[in-house]
């Protein structure tokens, strides 16, 4: 693997793209642009069809160029212009669209292995701004395309990309509900549990190959951990009562969760490495669905202590409690954004269908992200905070969808029916 990056070229590209962006922003006078809003910083890139130099391109499910372009579109950071080859015509088209650089690449498939070469080329000078080569087992060609997509996001925007992230979710199967995982774009889905019991609310714990979920496999709902590299599952710890709705914070390596171990559904905090659980709530009502602020200082959760399920925020030790929701009938499933600036949640506004909203952590500036599209539940943030994954019944059966953090471009990821409770991995 080699990498050639010309810093001066990237700076030039960035400076020009910022200029273009500045003009865009100036014209959009009525729109308040937040850092998460898709379309706010869109960079135009040309794309010349990747060539298969050796082997049968049909022997891989998707050509790497297709995977890459899909990633770039999905990221919301790029607008891609296609061309079969780089010539005077395509050059003019790329430049008309505001592109300063284009992508080209080739790949080979031989003896069950792949090699992939990707380049970002300065349109005017023809020099490579970024060049990367990958090789490995053929099944990992798709992953290599994702890696290059993330490399482009990192080099051109200075932020990590999400093309290598994964989604854990619940899949209804004969005999029970099982945990499955898939790539963030819906590819590579596979089942993690097969105990024919009820398995719920999966979350990733730090690494992309460790999943924590609630399972009835041992009778009462308990936490189990699936290690996908070893394809094993084991009970994480045993607790009286019903244990569910875990949420992990990597800063302190702690989970918060709901348990009825003391009789009533309360919120508890516990180090993953082991140790005791600290009880954080002390009210007769239902307390559940806790979600960490990204720095681990605060917790948002659901409580019906004042009659209806509402959102509350408390400090990590349970102190400084305040209610942040008031207007709608029923609030649930809060999820604090990775940047800490918004909380996504579901609410009922008359009717029986949930919609997804976001607010600031003090309950201000509510934005409704879904409407008139079935019931929309279980929002979970992408690690870069630019997207939300969620369950929707808009097509009839529960399926996993993804949308921009501003509700734009909803896109369906599953098609088998009975898919719910999606949770996005870390990078």
């Amino acid at each position: 693997m080699n990498s050639i990056i010309k810093a001066s070229n990237i700076l030039r590209l960035l400076a020009l793209s910022l200029l273009v962006m500045g003009i865009d922003v100036a014209f959009a006078a009525d729109v308040v642009i937040t850092s998460e809003q898709k379309g706010a910083e869109v960079l135009s890139l040309g794309y010349v069809e990747f060539q298969c130099l050796k082997g049968d391109p049909k022997s891989v499910p998707n050509p790497p160029g297709t995977v890459l372009v899909n990633d770039l579109h999905f990221s919301g950071r790029f607008r891609v212009q296609f061309a079969p080859a780089f010539d005077a015509v395509s050059k003019a088209r790329f430049k008309d669209d505001g592109a300063l650089a284009y992508l080209r690449g080739d790949y080979s498939l031989e003896n069950g292995k792949y090699t992939l070469n990707c380049e970002l080329i300065d349109i005017d000078s023809g020099t490579a701004i970024l060049k990367k080569s990958y090789s490995g087992p053929k099944e990992q060609l798709r992953l290599a395309a994702h890696q290059f997509a993330d490399e482009l996001v990192f080099q051109l925007f200075g932020e990590k990309g999400i093309a290598q992230t994964r989604i854990a979710y619940v899949n209804k199967r004969p005999g029970g509900k099982e945990i499955s995982v898939m790539d963030y774009d819906g590819a590579n889905a596979h089942q993690v549990t097969s105990n024919k019991s009820i398995n719920l609310t999966p979350i990733f714990m730090g690494a992309k190959d460790k999943i924590l979920y609630t399972s009835y496999a041992a009778g009462s709902p308990q936490f189990f951990q699936a290690d996908m590299t070893a394809t094993t599952t084991r009970q994480m710890f045993n607790s009286a009562g019903m244990n569910s709705a875990a949420n992990y914070n990597k800063t302190d390596g702690e989970i918060i969760y709901a348990s009825t171990m003391d009789g009533n559904s309360e919120i508890y905090r516990r180090p993953v490495a082991g140790g005791k659980s600290d009880r954080l709530t002390f009210f007769e009502g239902i307390d559940t669905s806790p979600s960490w602020s990204p720095n681990g200082y605060e917790i948002v959760f659901v409580s019906d202590r004042n009659g209806k399920p509402m959102l509350y925020v408390m400090d990590r030790d349970g102190s400084n409690l305040r209610r942040i929701s008031f207007d709608l009938d029923y609030y649930g499933s809060p999820a604090w954004s990775p940047k800490g600036d918004r909380i996504a949640f579901v609410a009922l506004d008359g009717g029986n269908n949930f919609n997804i909203y976001t607010v600031t952590p003090d309950g201000k500036d509510p934005v409704k992200l879904t409407s008139d599209a079935g019931s929309n539940e279980s929002p979970s943030w992408s690690p870069d905070g630019r997207h939300l994954i969620f369950m929707s019944t808009r097509t009839g059966s529960p399926e996993i969808f993804v949308m921009g953090a501003d509700g734009t471009e909803p896109r369906r990821l599953t098609f088998s029916g009975g898919n719910s409770m999606p949770s996005w991995s870390d990078y």
Partner: protein, 173 residues
Amino acid sequence: MKLKYWASLGFASTLFFACSKKPPVVPPPEPTPPKVVVETPPAPPPPPDTMGEGRRRLQARVTETFKTVYFDYDKSALTSEGQSICEGIGALMKEVPSLTVQIQGNADDRGTNEYNLALGDRRAKAVQSYLTTYGIAASRLSTISYGEEKPAAEGQDDAAWSKNRRDDFSPSF
């Protein structure tokens, strides 16, 4: 009871071999003894008599008494109908000290899954609390919640929802 079952099976197989010895005059066909046993059992083994008459009668009373308790939307308080079912359960459990029960709380699917798990738990505990107040030892009453994960009826209407907001009972004695 199990002993009895095996004993009767043993008796049946003795009978069978006794019979199969009968026609040895015929030239020996291909020996297929185990298959014959499977295909033509001499007599259906008598249903395992795991219950005496008294037990059977008790089972009938248990089935009749442990009726599903239904709840109002987002409520875990017992309705008057629920209370009368619980009263019957309490009376029977007092009468039959060996009777224990797992109370299984459920919710319709109109809330979030996590909240409904807790709501099902409250519904199970509402019955548990009624019964402990009635004088049944807590050790005889376990609870579990399935939230909205085990619906009794599928559908997005009042008919289905009202069937799903419930406590089921799994009694044993």
